[in-house]
């Protein structure tokens, strides 16, 4: 989400020349980070370029490709719209009304992030008859709504209430006031969330596979694992990557047209919330229903299997689960650090020195998110064997894969957090004699840190749930919660798999709760500095 710039951009470009060196270093680091993030794309280009052009054309033009593309586009569109509507509505209720137990509802609205989509799909398959397109739509929507709810909630809390009230005073209905005044202010945040949702749906494999919906990823996976000619898979993955790039460009176009509606003194928190009145019960019933569907169904299925008798030969000890949980957390943390290291130059450049280079680097960083994990996994098998064979099948390559896969989440957080730091504050610090580095450390980094930390948490959270790249790249005897879960469900040992799934949900819930606090606290923190 791109917060509006408070200072005229001219002010930034009029800064002294001595910044040039730092800026060059920053730009160079951003280019290196973007190049590293493009490794999967490069791998695809190498694979496709190595194939006969006839075979490529044949694969592209066969009716099956169009059918798969239609399936995937339909699913992405449906889930995006559903998440946008549900997410914005939920965020509005949480931010603007006199809803009781608001904190609890906020946490409940965020918690589905802790449930991997394949675990949710498993729950739905076990307890309900829904399958195919509708099953995929339900599961992916419920799992991804928080990606829209949380940023929209934070944006609503920071949005200028006074203008909405003015619009109301001038005779606008509540709906029109929201549409004409509030929506433009939260649109960038909501759209950024929808972009993450759309890219996730594009690359999701677990849920569509369990729902037996033939999306692109399903076909890519089938091609990689069963045809020993990788061209078919690479061509299809390239099509998927192109769709991802199209989504990023579309979101940027929509986001780019925003204008600042702000006044210097924003009215926040002082205005009376909307009184729900007779709507109080139905609204809470709706929130409870969403929580029951997104959390209750998967957890219900897990608990049912947890209670059943484990099949012979697969006994799970608490120690096994705990060991896997430690590995999972360690790898996710390392992945988050790598993502952060790659994201910092790109995010800072995009926030402070917007340019074609910055935009290009930022777009390149989004590529990983659109590709299925197996493509990123195979590309890093190829890359690590070519460049750093000694690190092949080590935890480092796996952590690096996480960093590349989930980089956009970190880039978005870095950029928006730094944009939120008013450049005027930095100028004040400089005037008061603080050096460039000192200003960054004491002012910019300090104010931006919580938001950047939230981005790192989001990366760690997503990395914990990652499966296909983990399976390909992990060291041979290393298991994470996700791979143990896969191993056991693959042989239908659901009773034995349930503790791993529950442990995964519990471990992933920790960053989610921290993220919720961040979304709630974000508003107050910014206020302190305005």
């Amino acid at each position: 989400m791109r917060a509006p710039r408070l200072l005229d951009p001219v002010a930034a470009s009029a800064r002294p020349r001595r910044f040039a060196w730092g800026r060059a270093t920053l730009a160079a680091s951003a280019v290196v980070a973007a190049a590293l993030a493009s490794i999967p794309l490069v791998y695809l280009v190498v694979r496709v370029a190595g194939a006969e052009s006839g075979a490529v054309a044949e694969t592209l033009l066969r009716p099956r490709t169009a059918q798969l593309a239609a399936n995937t586009v339909g699913l992405v569109a449906a889930v995006s719209v559903a998440c946008l509507v549900l997410g914005v509505a939920t965020a509005w209720v949480l931010a603007r009304t006199d809803l009781p137990l608001r904190r609890t509802w906020t946490v409940l609205a965020a918690l589905p992030l802790a449930i991997p989509s394949y675990v949710a799909a498993f729950g739905w398959v076990a307890l309900t008859p829904v399958r195919g397109f509708w099953g995929s739509l339900i599961v992916l929507t419920l799992c991804n709504v928080p990606l829209v709810t949380l940023p929209t909630l934070a944006a609503l809390r920071q949005a200028d209430r006074a203008q909405e009230d003015v619009a109301r005073t001038l005779g606008r209905s509540r709906t029109r006031a929201f549409a004409e005044v509030t929506w433009p202010q939260v649109r960038p945040a909501a759209l950024a969330g929808v972009l993450l949702v759309a890219l996730y749906v594009l690359s999701d494999f677990g849920a569509v596979a369990l729902m037996r919906f033939q999306a692109f990823t399903w076909a890519i996976h089938a091609a990689y694992t069963s045809s020993f000619d990788p061209t078919l898979a690479a061509v299809m993955a390239t099509v998927l990557a192109a769709m991802g790039v199209a989504l990023v460009v579309a979101e940027r176009a929509m986001r780019g047209r925003q204008t600042r509606f702000g006044s210097t003194v924003a009215a926040r928190g002082t205005v009376q919330p909307v009184v729900l009145g007779p709507w109080r019960v139905p609204v809470q019933v709706a929130l409870a229903a969403i929580a029951a569907l997104s959390l209750g169904v998967p957890l219900g299925a897990l608990l049912r299997y947890l209670g059943s008798q484990p099949s012979s030969g697969t006994v799970v000890s608490a120690g096994d689960v705990a060991a896997d949980a430690l590995t999972t957390v360690g790898l996710a943390a390392a992945g988050a650090l790598i993502a952060l290291a790659l994201a910092l130059p790109i995010g800072i450049l995009a926030a402070r020195h917007p340019s074609r280079l910055a935009t290009g680097a930022e777009s390149a960083s989004y590529v990983g998110l659109a590709l299925p994990g197996i493509v990123v996994g195979l590309s890093l098998v190829y890359f690590s064997l070519q460049v750093v064979p000694a690190l092949y099948q080590s935890v480092w390559i796996l952590a690096f894969a996480y960093g590349v896969l989930f980089l956009p989440k970190a880039v978005g957080a870095v950029r928006s957090s730094i944009e939120r730091v008013e450049p005027g504050l930095e100028d004040v610090a400089r005037t008061l004699g603080s050096g460039v580095a000192g200003t960054w450390m004491r002012v910019t980094a300090r104010i931006a840190a919580p938001g950047i930390g939230a981005g790192a948490l989001l990366v760690a959270l997503t990395a914990m749930k990652e499966l296909p790249a983990t399976l390909l790249l992990r060291p041979t005897t290393t298991d994470t919660l996700a791979t143990s879960l896969w191993r056991l469900t693959d042989i239908s040992a659901y009773a034995a798999a349930a503790p791993y799934a529950l442990a995964l949900v519990v471990v992933a819930a920790v960053p989610v709760v921290l993220l919720t606090r961040e979304a709630v606290a974000g508003a107050t923190r910014v206020e302190e500095f305005e």
């Binding site: 045809s227 990788p230 012979s312 390909l472």
Partner: protein, 350 residues
Amino acid sequence: MRSTTVLTGIVVASLSLAACTSSGEADAEPTATAAAEPVSDGELVVYSGRSEDLVQPLIDDFQEASGVAVEVRYADTTELAALLQEEGDATPADVYFAQDAGALGAVAKAGLVATLPEDISSAVDAGHTSTDGSWVGVTGRARVFVIDSEQVDQASAPTTAAELTDPEWSGQVGIAPTNASFQSFVTALRVLEGEDAARAWLEDMVANDVQIYSNNTAILEAAQAGEIQVGLINHYYWYRLESELGTDAMRAQLVFPESGDAAGIVNVAGAALMAGAAEDADAIAFLEYLVSEDGQQYFVEATYEYPLVSGVEAPDGLPEIGSLTNTDLDLSDLDSLSETTALLAEVGLL
């Protein structure tokens, strides 16, 4: 905005980086031959396409007997074949233990394996192993139909693949197109009936609303739950579920297809020695163990598969392997897997 130009620039830059480092693919390597005097280093890496619960007890037995430390990487047979090809010569694997002759054939064809020592390749009768010593068969598995006994009588159950295209079974048949064993059946269909007949059968199945599942287990569960009436699986999945649930709880029942029909072929699981391990005594010892009496007996008892070494008895209740084996079909014919997957992709099943 010209951001796409910059994006392209970045991709090109990192492409050239890749070009500098790329040292070419590892195809067309000559197949190595096991040296006369293999050396033991006490360590072994196995890529296993067979699941951990089935294989690990056997590995533990081998470790105890030999003192060799074994590391096993478990994944899908086909995924490992893709991984082995991506790794080429750099693979850490010494042995590839696969669920399927087709995957072994593909890895052998890519020149990634060493020719097995004579005593290993001759342990298994011809017809159930490779013809050129590039891999050895370990166990036999019969392709069967599983039916939901509440909806289908044993008497009226289909016994040939051809019957399944009948409108009677519309929307009622489950297959797993990504599964290696299913693909071997399609290959057999191509070999036995010809390309056109195989394509026609697949197209008719798609037109008959065939249900797609991800693997044998999912098909068996669907039949057990009455979700489908007929499924195409390997025989031992049913026996494993029976041992878990008890005979009385089995709503799903097996039907052995007509002798000679492609739907009833006997496929094998097997193992290969990777080229880099041609002189690794530990890897060779492990392969010897797989075709030893102890190793074969383990599979009979733990997985209900057919032993392939003479002198070891098949599990009770199974038809004679000889009555199922198709004399018109050589397992080495099943390595034309890429033609099969191309066909499956063409008819829209992949």
